[in-house]
């Protein structure tokens, strides 16, 4: 049956994908290779492309064509794709160009100043910029809410996690919030009873670190014929599904940070590399959401990398790369990878304390966007919540307090929840895998990771955005997001 309007829309999205490809590679190059004096010209080139893509995504003919395509005899998959096309158009047209531009300029200014202000612990200097990006984010939220009928904070959540709401966050984080402080205390008490792990002794030459990272990526199934590993200041997984550009950073004194970050990004990368090829360029072939993306990176970093089966494969690689030492014994690596230590910094947090960092942020940014508090109120709230949830004293330390992340500095509100939602989904996937493969741990212990990859490929990667997130989770694991699996995972690993 002929579907000419749908077909033309699909070609429109293939075109967006092809042009976006150039931006993705130029963006990767900017972070990984670009010399400093290239910056101004690159920024101008990227802005030109962004303008072009925005014009294509907001083409005035799209609403009528989207409505016409609806009447065509589409398959279920095409209909799902049309739903995602509509979402893309809705997001692209939700905000007036002038507001988008004002937000970009304010974010760039604030972020630039924040880099120095953070180093100087200069909250007072940061505050005027924060006020401005909050004001703009509130205006964006209000306009998005008007358009979608969602509440303001929900409208921001929806940008990153379609369908997620504050009410749903209350459900999934609420219980965890009660349970977490006592659990952290129990885990700490238990660790205090044991000998602390031996620290690996460096230095760890960068060449050897790179070799180990590449070996770990191969163990995890990264396709080096369709991607690369490079170095950048902040690790990320970029490029396009056909050519994934993953980055890490190396520190001679510590190989573990780089290795775990590489394993994390490899989870993102395999999702990208295994999105459905026949549909590439279509909105339905994109990763489902940020939380689902994080569920892949955390399935690799938290679930798999700290599994005794993976550690058994890793240990000899470390000894070969850096020379044998007692710290590389599997039992010691296991203790290193599951060490719990409350601290001030989210990105350094272990998987047990990490959700506390996220909950602190989500509660504050929600109140901020809904207008219940102002930016000036953040430090006091931060200190109180960090003490309550983690027992950490953060008073007077803005640098490693509310100024530690780039998100707020650049006006990104509503994103933080995705990290912990991802950790919960990852635990849920592994619980479902164990149900589907009762011998899973035996196979992992034998160094056979294929059941994990096959399960994720079948249930998550190739499903891309063909289903709403709840439906994806139900089809993959039999239920929508259920935080009980995450709690059970932590109890099994840290308190059994």
């Amino acid at each position: 049956m002929a579907t000419p309007v749908y077909d033309a829309l699909a070609e429109h999205h293939r075109r967006l994908h092809r042009l976006g490809h150039l931006g993705a590679i130029a963006g990767w190059d900017q972070a990984a290779h670009m010399p400093p004096k290239g910056n101004e010209a690159r920024a101008a080139a990227m802005a030109e492309l962004a303008t072009l893509l925005h014009r294509l995504r907001t083409d005035p003919s799209l609403p009528e064509r989207l409505a016409q395509a609806e009447q065509e005899p589409l398959s279920d998959a095409q209909r799902a794709n049309l739903r995602e096309m509509r979402r893309d158009h809705r997001l692209a047209t939700a905000l007036p160009d002038a507001l988008v531009e004002r937000a970009a300029i304010a974010a760039a200014r604030s972020e630039h100043a924040w880099r120095a202000q953070r180093r100087a612990n200069d909250w007072a200097g940061f505050l005027p910029n924060l006020h401005e990006v909050v004001a703009i984010a509130r205006e964006q939220a209000a306009r998005l809410a008007d358009r979608s009928g969602l509440s303001r904070f929900d409208a921001l959540l929806d940008l990153y996690e379609p369908g997620m709401t504050a009410a749903e966050l209350d459900r999934v984080f609420g219980d965890l919030r009660q349970w977490l402080p006592a659990t952290i205390e129990r885990v700490l008490a238990r660790q205090a009873d044991r000998r602390p792990p031996l620290e690996p002794v460096g230095p760890f030459p960068l060449d050897a670190q790179r070799r180990v990272c590449e070996q770990a990526m191969r163990l995890l199934g990264f396709d080096f014929d369709a991607g690369r590993l490079d170095v950048s200041t902040h690790p990320f997984c970029g490029g396009v599904p056909e050519d994934v550009r993953l980055t890490t950073r190396f520190d001679e004194r510590d190989f573990l940070g780089s290795l775990l970050s590489t394993i994390h990004e490899t989870g993102h990368a395999r999702y990208q590399q295994n999105l459905p090829r026949d549909w590439l360029g279509q909105p339905a072939a994109q990763a489902r959401s940020m939380a689902i993306h994080e569920s892949q990176s955390l399935a690799f970093e938290m679930q798999l990398a700290a599994h005794p089966g993976f550690i058994a494969r890793l240990a000899p690689l470390l000894a070969e790369a850096f020379g044998a030492q007692p710290a590389f014994e599997p039992a010691n690596l296991q203790r290193l990878l599951t060490r719990v230590k409350p601290g001030k910094i989210r990105v350094d947090a272990d998987e047990v304390t990490y959700p506390a960092h996220v909950i602190v942020r989500v509660e504050i940014e929600r109140a901020l966007i809904e207008g219940e508090i102002e930016a000036d109120d953040i430090p006091a709230l931060w200190d109180a919540k960090m003490m309550e949830l983690l027992g950490v004293d953060t008073r007077g330390d803005y640098r490693d307090g509310p100024m530690q992340d780039i998100h707020w500095a650049s006006g990104t509100f509503g994103y933080f929840a995705c990290y912990s939602l991802g950790a919960m989904y990852a635990a849920q996937w592994f619980a479902a895998m164990r149900r589907d493969h009762p011998d899973l741990d035996t196979r992992l212990a034998g160094g056979d990771f294929a059941p994990v990859f096959d399960w994720l490929h079948e249930r998550i990667w190739r499903q891309a955005s063909f289903w709403p997130t709840d439906e994806l989770a139900r089809r993959a694991s039999g239920e929508a997001l259920n935080p009980a699996h995450f709690k059970a995972h932590l109890e099994a690993r840290y308190l059994a």
Copy 2:
């Protein structure tokens, strides 16, 4: 005075420049970093950008706007820019889209097959593809000629070397053609009387080679804050003036090929890096022509790199990188860098025999485009001309005969002349420099290369395309292209 139409045209070209930036970086990445499975998506992305740029360059409103801008009160520089805008529009609109597409497809097919056919010395297999690309090139030449009033071959020459004609080539190559065979014999006889240079003894570790290349680039003033050195199969100078991406290739058994190629590309790179900043993105701020570009690379590779002053700086770097050996003595390096040896392969040729390779190609491609011969006639002509000009027997060897270059395989006719025109211009620049700085050789001998860079910067680099080529040459050196300087240079270096 207000120049609104001109200003809008200038903004249009800045936009082309910004979008072209992304293509330049993606093209560099494709050659230097892209994993194999990225190829198909990259080709599609590059084609999408090419289509977009073509549409912008052929915008139907341009002819009227170009005419209107002509009436505005423009400065001389703006008027020169308008002239170059008009040329850009003329070239972009000269050929119908269908012919451009047919040419691209035929070139890609022919070039792809040629890679295997060349290895197999398979002229018969290559011939049908060559017939097709010649037929298309003739059609392109005919259409360009109709539009410009030039002859067919002149119309192709004009694509690479604006203003160059076959009659002008007769003038500059004619005399050289008579003079060259006897000169080569004299140089060979003279070399035969002397001890041959010592060959450097390898292997030459790739890391050390890279270090030497980077040191040579620094000696030559390459700005590493505005560019990089990477590795690709075929060395080139890419990127954008604000961020020049230079590539080389390394061979453990031979450092000299890579080093000289890097020095060559550094000449291109410094031209790019020093085009006038205030005008970047405008047609008048682009490099003048291919011959002028080659005059920069050859000024570095042939004029400067083989100068005793440069060799004196290079010798200790080689000893440091690879360990001292007699071959690295300056006098021996000098003999290595000025060794003359007629051979079959253009890219391996020395500066004395190189023009013979070019003349053979120019004579054949001119007859081919003008319809005086067919592709079948090439081997016999090739063999005869190579014997006449170089005394080299090429019979039966198509691989290192008429199949050696990618140019004809990909349908590029009219380019070869630029290489030798560039060598002639380079000699002319150095003759003018010596007139302007009578102490030039003393300063070079003392390791002070600034007079060369300053002269080129002032006379060539910052002049970009503000003058027609002849006028550029006259303003730089007091006369239009004069082949006598090239002959004088060879006589001074090889027969004095």
